[in-house]
Assembly symmetry: C2
Homo-oligomer: 229 residues x 2
Amino acid sequence: MTVGIVTVERKVLEKNDALAAQNREAFRRSKLFVVNLVSSPGSGKTSLVERTLDHLRGRLSVAVIEGDVQTDLDAQRVAKFGVPVVQIVTNGGCHLDAKLVQDAAQNLPLDGVKVLIIENVGNLVCPANYDLGEDVKVVVASTTEGDDKPLKYPAMFRNASVLIINKTDLVPYVNCNLAELKANALKINPSLTIIETSCTTGTGIAEWCGWMENKAKGISQKSEEATNP
Amino acid sequence: MTVGIVTVERKVLEKNDALAAQNREAFRRSKLFVVNLVSSPGSGKTSLVERTLDHLRGRLSVAVIEGDVQTDLDAQRVAKFGVPVVQIVTNGGCHLDAKLVQDAAQNLPLDGVKVLIIENVGNLVCPANYDLGEDVKVVVASTTEGDDKPLKYPAMFRNASVLIINKTDLVPYVNCNLAELKANALKINPSLTIIETSCTTGTGIAEWCGWMENKAKGISQKSEEATNP
C-alpha cells in the first residue's frame, strides 16, 4: 500500500473514533451497558444472543443490533424473543462502524433498556479496529476453530475484555486443547476474562449473563452517584 | 464512506487486478494450476492442505503459499511434508493481494511443480474481492459454521468455483443441515462444484485431489498443444 492510502485509512479511523465517542456519550446518558460481540463466522454469536435473551427474560431488559454482510436472518431469530432489534446490512462491508451503529440505535426504542448487544459482522480481523462506542468487546471463539486463533488474529483478542469459548460440548470430537487455547489467549491479553459456554447444552450461560448483569448494575449505580453525589 | 474513499478503494482494486493479470500470465508460462483457498478462520484449510499433500505425495508436485495475519505456524505444518512453502504475514491485513503473492512466488522453487495452493487469510469477506491471479477460488465451509453462511457472505460463494464442505464427521453433533447448506450455496452460485470432506476421517480427500489432478492435467495438455499445434 502507498503512503496516500494509509493516510486515507487513518482519516477513516479518526472519523470513526469521533463518532464512537459521540455514541459512548449517548449510551452513558441512557445508562446503557454496551457489548460489541465479535468473532469468526459461525462461532455461535447469534445462538449466544438467543440463549442470553432467554436467560435474562424478566430480569434485565436487553436490546440488540444485528450486523451482517447480507440478510436479516439473525434479526428474525432475535425478534422471536420480543426484544427491540435492528438489523444492519453492510452490503459487502466487512465490519460495523460507529456511524452505522449510531443510525441503528436511533431506530431502537431504548427506554428502560439496560444492555445493548451489538452483534458484529463475522470477521476476526477488520472489526478489531473499529470502535463503535461500546463498553467492552467480547470475542467468541468456538472450540471447532482450534486453539491457535489468538496467536494468528492477535488484535481481536488484545482489544477484547472477555473471551467466550463456545461449543465446549464439541471438545471430545475436535482437535482443540482448551488449556492451550486459554494460554494462547492470555499470552496475547493477560487481563482477559474467560468464560466457557455451550449454547447447545446451556453450560456457562448463567455465568456469562451474571457477568453482564453485574456490569449493567455497576453502570446504573455509577450514574445514580453522579446524580446524587 | 465518502466518494473520495470509494475512489481510492477502486484504485487499489484496479492496481491489484493489473498485478493479478501479471501473476496469471507467469503461472500460465510455468504450466501451474493455481488454487486460492478461502474460508472463515478455523474451517480447516490447513488441515485440508496437509491431507492433500499426503494424498498427492509422489503423484503430483505441489507448492504452497501460506497467508496469515500473524505467525508462521501454518508454514511450519506444511513444511513437514517436504514441499516448497512460503509464509506471508500480512501484519494486520485482512486478505492477501496480488503483490504479496507475486513477491512470495518469486521465493518459491517452482521447477516441476504442477499445482500451487495459496491459503488465504481466514476471512469470509475481504479476500472475495482480491484476485491473486489464481485459476480458481475454492471456498471451504465447515459444518460447524451452520448452513446459512452462503446467504450471509454471498460474494465469496459467488466468486468461488468449488465449495468444500469440511468437517462432515461433526454433522451428528452440530446444527447444520447439509442439504440446506448445499441448496443455499447453489442459490448464490448454481455452477459451484461441491465436494464433502472430513480431514479427520479422510472422507472426500481422494475426490478433491482427483478434481485437482484433472485440472492440473488439463493445463499441461493445453500448454503442450500450444507448443505443438
